[in-house]
Symmetry: D2
Subunit: 135 residues, 4 copies
């Protein structure tokens, strides 16, 4: 596989606001869906990682909004793993209209790995190897 | 104090949908705010209850929508404790426009007390006594 | 087709709360997804209905919570159209774990049809005929 | 008044996730609350601006997460207007624990002014004058 994974979703009514478009915070939810699905495509479950006691907490997020998404649009989230270190991982995202291909937003998130007490903790070695294999 | 507690909030843009009004699921969030504030007014913190290992999980919720709430409206949530048993508690809610007094919604929730493993567990005695004092 | 339509979704991290389960208001979002997909399966788009100037506003919603949904669970939403009148429509929902079949929640919503000014307005005849065909 | 406005809010249960802290997208909702309240403190209502046909759409948002917010924390959102142009405005945010003063997050948003059709449109002159008065 490549280091970019695409997943699709349908815009929910709940995600819109009274401007008639998707509320800006909700793109970060789609980014989360994108990275969970990228991990699944790599054969790794984020839920299983947490069950091992390691979570990935977002330390920085940036979104550039290019064109609004609307109710019922089919959305494609392309997630790219862009960096892996012992206790950090970064992803880029391209959010597009799946039917027209129109680019709606780009985003970038940095995440740090933490234990159940919220302290920085190393990403498990086997998990890190899988991530590095697609860089 | 009486058994009804009122708290106010302001409608957020995020809470609206493309119909131009507050999305229907969000009224349940306001009910949650209402019961947390009722408990606080009784001198009890829901966060502290959870720190003791007991949570209150909603087992049933009903909302009747009477008139739409809109962005920036000031909302009053009147929460009434209507029943307490060893492992269950019920609340009624009246959601109104705080400026006009217009009734926007009524709601009712039943909650059960559970331990950290999700099993039914008795509400702590001191907590229950406080609740029963305002029935 | 039958009058019940099933759609599936995956629980998002955003939908969980600190009890470790899906926050109770979010089931109403899934009900909305269920009825939009039921309409689509009938060949009708809710977005198109709104483009005609008619919306369906929820007038009452009830959810019974049976067992918690958790992050990454695959969820099946079975939506059943239970009633159609000139200006109202009702749906029942069964929300289940798609892998285990465990019943997580049942719900019921009543909706009224309104025009762009929020006044009661008849459901368009062609739309109503389609709905009635599956009752 | 200064160009920084502070508003407070209480973390809702709905805003937490199963990591036990506030879900990362929700900080953008608090930023929205912050800028709406800053405008109100300046004597301007964002709802009124929209009623005139002009909206402010976020074109870019960045959040740096420093320390997690938790259920029931009192949060202070300090919003600073950092730039005004004919069709754009920028804000900085400092999100802190209102009781301890701990810095939880910093954020920055750029917004563009648009008309009801989503096209770039000038911020009304009287509105812009007020904004510029506090730069």
């Amino acid at each position: 596989m490549t280091h970019t994974h695409a997943t699709e979703l349908r815009v929910r009514y709940a995600e819109t606001d009274r401007m008639g478009v998707v509320y800006y915070a909700n793109y970060l939810i789609w980014c989360e869906v994108g990275r969970v699905e990228l991990l699944r495509a790599l054969g790794r479950s984020y839920a299983a990682l947490e069950a091992e006691g390691i979570g990935l907490a977002v330390s920085e997020a940036t979104v550039r909004y290019l064109s609004p998404a609307r109710f019922d649009d089919r959305i494609r989230v392309e997630t790219t793993l862009t960096g892996v270190r012992s206790r950090a991982v970064t992803f880029d995202y391209l959010i597009a209209n799946a039917e027209t291909g129109a680019r709606l937003a780009t985003a970038r998130t940095a995440l740090v790995s933490i234990d159940r007490d919220g302290r920085l903790a190393a990403i498990p070695q086997d998990f890190r190897v899988v991530l590095e294999s697609v860089l």
